[in-house]
Structure formats: C-alpha cells, structure tokens
C-alpha cells in the first residue's frame, strides 16, 4: 500500500516535467524550438529547400494561386460556422438565413465574409488561369493543367450549389432556369437534370442534394485536387520558365523568403476580405415564390455572360459555347507545344502584339454585333427564316467566329501556336466580359437600359 501512494505522489509531483516531456516529445533532446520543428516537418515538406529569385518576385505569378487557396480556406472556416445555424429545408432555409442575419452574434459578418471570399475565389481562379495560359506555363505540364481546370470547375460548382441554399427568389429562379438549360444538352441533359434536382422540379430534394454537394462532396474534391495540384508543381520543377539565364536564377532559401511572402499575402487577403465584409453586408432577396419570378430575374454576376448568351439562343449559350470553351481549354497544352517564351508574359513581342490587336478587334466586333442585333429585333427578323437561324446568327456565334478568325490570323502572322491560341482566348475573354456588362445593364423584361437611364418601376 505504501508503494502505491508513494508512486502516486511521485507521479503527481512530477506532473509539470512529465507534461512537458509527454506533450512535446523530442524537445529536450534536440534543443530546437517548437517553431523550427514545425517548420522542418511541414513547411519544408511542401516547399523546396531553395527557390530562384524569380519565384520571389510579385510580377512572376501575382500570387494568384496563394490568393485562391486563402479564399478557399476562409470559405471552409466561415462555411462550417454558418452550418451551425443554417437549416436545409424549404420551409426553414429562408428563416434560418434571416436568423443568421439578425439573431446570431457576428452572423452578418461571417455570412458576408463567406460571400465575398467566394467572389474573390472565382476572380482569382480566373486570373490565375489567364496568367498560366499567357505564360505558356502549361507547357510540359498537361496533367497539372487539367487538374487546375478541374479545380476551376469545382469552384464554379461550389458557387452554383451555394447560391441555392438561401432559398430566396434569386436562388430558386436561378436554379430553375439553369436546370431548364440542361434540356439543351444532347444525350445526357435530361438524365443529368433528373439527377441534379432529384426529380423534375426544384424542391426539397434539390435543396438537399445541393447542400450535400456544397458542404461535403465538392469541398472534398477540391481538397484532393488541391493536394495533387501543389504536389505536381513540385514534381514538375517549380514555376515554369525558359531554360535559365541571369540573376533571376540565383537560389535563395525558401524559408523565410518565399514562405513569409506567402504568409504575408494570405494575411493581407484575409485583412482585405474582412474589411469588406465588415463594411458591406451580403444581400438576402425576397422570400421565394415558386410560381412568379421577379422582374428582372438576373443570374449572379459570374453567370451573367451565360444568361446573356442564353437569351439569344438556349442551345448556343447552354451547350455549344460552354462545350467549346471546355474543349479549347482542355486541348490547349496538347495543341500548343512551343517552348519559346514560356514563363514570360505573353511570350514573345510578336505574340503580345497579336493578342493586343485581337483584344481591340474583339471590342469592336462586340459593339458591332450588339448594335446590329438590337436594331434587327431578334425574333421578328429571323422568324421569317425559320427557327434555326436565330440559333446560328447572334452575337454569341459571332464571338466564336471572331475568335477563330483572330486565332488563325495570329497564327499565320506570327507562325506561333501560342499566339494563335492566346489570341482566340483573349477574344473570348473580352467578349464574355462584354456580355457580362450588357447583362448588368438589362432591366425589367430583359430590356437593355444604359446605366444612366432609370429602370421603369414594375408595380
């Protein structure tokens, strides 16, 4: 008995030392701080030991990948917090959103942070794609390019599924209209719509599926692809560049020069998004009316280009153009295999000129198409020629034609596949941006109003 009590007493009095030793194994032996051990085991695992000076410069990548990742992490944290109060049922969803907005401490802030981080992620992913494309950094890295496209697609899916959850007028009608767009997709369209909605109508089944996708399946996919994406960067030899010259290639230790830069960027992204969320709260629309849409009923800004295209022709905007975009992007590293100019913005000076001219041409072409189309009065003009013509002759198809012309003429003029594809890409980008702006200006009954014209009151 005495042995038991003395052993117990020894253990209790030795508690501080044993706590230290048990919870921080290996400290006493190595003599290193916890910070350095953490750095060694984690930071050096995902970073190389040394990087080039080029990798440190802001203008090389603009840090867009880091910004996207930061936004994703913010979304994960704020999303989990919102899950505490949000209820995914058609009867409770809107009320739970109102509660988050009014009856939950810091609810409006977390909700606003979630929404603005989502928009920031979409923008930074797009800019990141454009940066990689314009540097030809996909050269020799086909797998990582495809993984990156997958990440972009998942991000759009997350934005789309998340948009339905508040179950307000805008959410419901956005999904109802988008689901109808699937009718234009041949072969899989109707089956996909049935699977997505869990039935024929947008209701409780659809809300639950979207919720499951938004909080579980798509984030899991993102995490997996992010891991592969970061690993492949290391495996492919770091940031893409042409065979080396000059002081750019001088090596410096990744810690602290690269890692602290990344941390700094993440911190300032968080600061910026928090400030915006503190100042501007996320909107909550009118409660849903499943039979009568608002007027105008507009998609969120990242899909306005699609809504504008679909308002010319459902088949074109819902199927043909997205399919061409995806095919073009997927095929890019296989169709352009030039080494020249990799790692430099727009590669060669000739390429830069071609891209600039294509961009300017695109602006001019878009203005011309829109003026002609709006004057002609879409249906009246083409109805006489049958219903196939409006699907073929509209600003959306005009965009495809101009993109091809720009690509081919740039290619011929410069002799470079990079210039060709970048020109085509820039034309698409400029015109899709133009369609987005036109979509912003659309008012009640989808009539175009200049920003300074007021919209007529609709009862």
């Amino acid at each position: 008995m005495k042995g038991f009590f003395s052993a117990l007493w020894d253990n209790l009095s030795g508690l501080p030392g044993n706590l230290r030793r048990g919870l921080r194994p290996g400290v006493a032996d190595s003599g290193n701080s916890a910070a350095s051990r953490l750095r060694r085991s984690f930071v050096y695992h995902i970073h190389p030991l040394r990087v080039t000076r080029r990798a440190l410069r802001a203008s090389t990548t603009l840090g867009l990948g880091v910004v996207s990742l930061t936004a994703f992490l913010i979304l994960g944290v704020t999303g989990v917090l919102l899950m505490i109060y949000y209820q995914p049922g058609t009867q409770q969803a809107y009320a739970s959103m109102q509660d988050i907005q009014y009856a939950v401490a810091l609810g409006p802030f977390v909700r606003a942070l979630h929404r603005w981080a989502a928009y920031a992620m979409l923008v930074s992913i797009l800019l990141h794609l454009l940066r990689v494309a314009s540097m030809g950094a996909y050269r020799g890295r086909e797998l990582n390019w495809l993984v990156g496209l997958g990440l972009g697609g998942l991000a759009l899916g997350l934005a789309f599924t998340g948009y339905l959850l508040p179950w307000d007028q805008r959410s419901y009608w956005a999904v109802r209209v988008s689901a109808s767009m699937l009718d234009s997709v041949p072969l899989f369209g109707l089956a996909l719509k049935n699977l997505m909605l869990g039935g024929q109508t947008v209701g409780q089944a659809a809300l639950l599926r979207f919720y499951m996708l938004h909080v579980a399946m798509l984030p899991a996919g993102m995490l997996a692809l992010i891991a592969i994406h970061l690993w492949r960067i290391r495996r492919d030899g770091g940031l893409a560049k042409e065979a080396g010259e000059g002081e750019d290639n001088e090596l410096v230790p990744a810690w602290p020069h690269l890692v602290l830069r990344e941390t700094l960027l993440m911190l300032w992204v968080l600061v910026a998004l928090s400030a915006i969320a503190a100042l501007v709260s996320a909107p909550l629309g009118a409660p849903v009316d499943v039979h009568i849409p608002a007027n105008p009923e507009k998609a969120p800004w990242y899909f306005l280009w699609a809504q504008e295209l679909v308002s010319y022709s459902a088949r074109l905007g819902a199927f043909v153009i997205p399919a061409l975009l995806v095919l073009g992007l997927v095929g890019l590293p296989f169709l352009d295999r030039e080494d020249k100019g990799v790692g430099r913005w727009f590669g060669t000076p000739a390429c830069r000129l071609a891209v600039l001219l294509s961009g300017l041409g695109a602006i001019g072409a878009l203005l011309a198409f829109e003026v002609l189309y709006m004057q002609a009065g879409p249906g009246v003009f083409f109805k006489a020629l049958g219903t196939l013509w409006p699907d073929i002759v509209n600003p959306g198809s005009g965009m495809i034609v101009v993109a091809f012309i720009a690509a081919i003429s740039s290619g011929i003029a410069t002799g470079s596949t990079r210039a060709a594809f970048l020109s085509g890409l820039v034309v698409m980008l400029v015109m899709l941006l133009g369609f987005t702006l036109i979509g912003v200006c659309r008012g009640p009954d989808w009539v175009f109003y200049w920003p300074w014209e007021g919209w007529p009151g609709v009862s």
Binding site: G199, Q200, P296, E297, V310, P378, G379, D445, W446
Partner: protein
Amino acid sequence: MGNKDRAKDKGRVSSRRDFLALAGNVGVCACGLAAAGLGARLAVPELHDGPPHKFPVGPAADFVSGTLTWIRDREIFIVHDGDGFGAFSSRCTHLGCTVKRSTEGFYCPCHGASYDGRGRVMTGPARKDLPWYLTWVGSGGRVWVDTDRVVECGRKSANKERVTARDDEES
C-alpha cells in the same frame, strides 16, 4: 525465375506471381467501380415528385365563357370560349419562367420572349409554342387537364364532350 525469363522472351506474362498481381489489381479496380456504380444508382431518384399530371382544376361553371384563367399551382391557363375548354402551359418554352399577359397575348419577363393570344411564339429566344394539353369536362362537371397529353395549339373540348370512358374518373 528461370520460367519468368523464358516467358518474357516469348512476350507473355507467365508466372503465377504476375498473374495473381494482375488479377488482384483488376479485382480491386472492379470493386471500386462497383462501389461507384452503386453510389450513382442510389443517387438516381425513384420517386416521382410533384403533383399528378392528370388533375381537375375546378367546376366548369367557375370558368365563364370568354375568360382566361391562370391556375397558379399548376402553372397553366384555362381558356373557355364557344368551342369549349382548353388548357395551355404558362411556362415559357425558352427556360421555364412564368409568362405574363400582354396586349398581344403573353410575354416572358425573363428574356423577352413573346407569344400571341393562343400561345404561339412570336419573337424572342423561345422557339416552341406554349404547349396545349388535353382538356375535358368530367361527369361531375369538373374541368380536367392531362399534362402528359400534348395536343395541337388551340384544341378545345366542347362542354359536354367526353373524351374516352377511361378518362372520365369523376367520383
């Protein structure tokens, strides 16, 4: 080991080890695919959601001759004139928004499609007319509509016409 070398010269997998390795891999892959397939089958809905496609809309006396009524819950219009009762969808054939009435007929506020008074498409991004559905008056005096049976534009049923005995399900 000697077996393996000889077999490789002939270009075939020979040893049991190689075969078992391959079979094992194929087996695991097959299991993975089977699991994915089961998951996908689970996701495909079995239940038919939403209200039935054949339904009564109300007593015939409610729909005065010469009127057009919107049945909100079913998103259809009921029209009654001298030729009888007719019903057509109020969902725009472009992307499914509910159409509103206009001086010429109907228009869709979502993307500007317009239809004439009988639902025939006039301008805008819609390509098809508003579908008309089979309509009749049952024995109980109620107007019935079957949205599974699309009929030609403008088709109406006279007040007393029976479609078929099978359709007459009034109690």
